[in-house]
Symmetry: C2
Subunit: 141 residues, 2 copies
């Protein structure tokens, strides 16, 4: 039997705060987004507007799909297209007040979950690695 309250635990201690989250803006050129992704080493990062509202997610896969010609990456497409033309708006997000149970169920299908406040301002992300580290410790008790 599990402690009933582990699933009700607050997610605040798991969250990577916004200032540590690599992100781009909707009007950035794809080339800029690709350089941020390559430099950070991340597969996918959030797209935030100038008032810190979540607009989408952009990944190396999406940029590759949008710019891959028959066999070559087309450099003109990288310069001409914008992040907002390619980003996905299918975003896993939750409110900072929702419990661990919600983060866990969203993490099954999503490598990371965006966290927002009541006004839908972006606060940070919760990653699978942080959840798995907590669970591994919890199951050893």
């Amino acid at each position: 039997v599990t402690e009933p309250n582990v699933l009700q635990k607050s997610i605040e201690s798991f969250m990577i705060p916004m200032e540590k989250v690599a992100h781009v803006q909707p009007d950035n050129a794809l080339e800029h987004a690709l350089l941020v992704l390559v430099k950070s080493g991340y597969t996918s990062i959030p797209v935030l507007d100038t008032s810190s509202k979540l607009q989408g997610l952009i990944s190396k896969s999406e940029i590759l799909d949008a710019t891959l010609g028959i066999e070559r990456i087309d450099p003109e497409q990288l310069a001409d297209k914008k992040v907002k033309d390619v980003m996905t708006t299918n975003i896993a997000s939750m409110n900072i007040k929702q419990p661990l149970e919600r983060a866990l169920s969203l993490s099954i299908q999503n490598p990371f979950i965006c966290v927002e406040d009541d006004e839908h301002s972006f606060l940070g992300i919760i990653t699978r690695s942080k959840l798995l580290a907590f669970i591994s410790g919890y199951l050893h008790e």
Copy 2:
């Protein structure tokens, strides 16, 4: 208190079998690996030799890093370089007989874990999504 035996559970029921795992070979051109990655939609896939032994992992990030010029993807590099020149040999792997506890601790740092038999033949992979789906169900009991 956790059921003591959940961590000792067998990993067989979590494993995606080899025939369902997208993979490439060490001597494939990078261009072929990029096309397999783009078509499958996966970020990173195993590299297996002709006798099903694990040789490495290859990802879109590594291919981008190896072929990205100052601002452009260099098409000649895609055709000239081989998978074995770029793949990582830092692979998270475990034996099919090891328990869930081992998969859980490896999954903290690795999006998927390669599973091998006693002769080190590749059998399949265990993904974070499968582990998280199991854990979410288990914690609800």
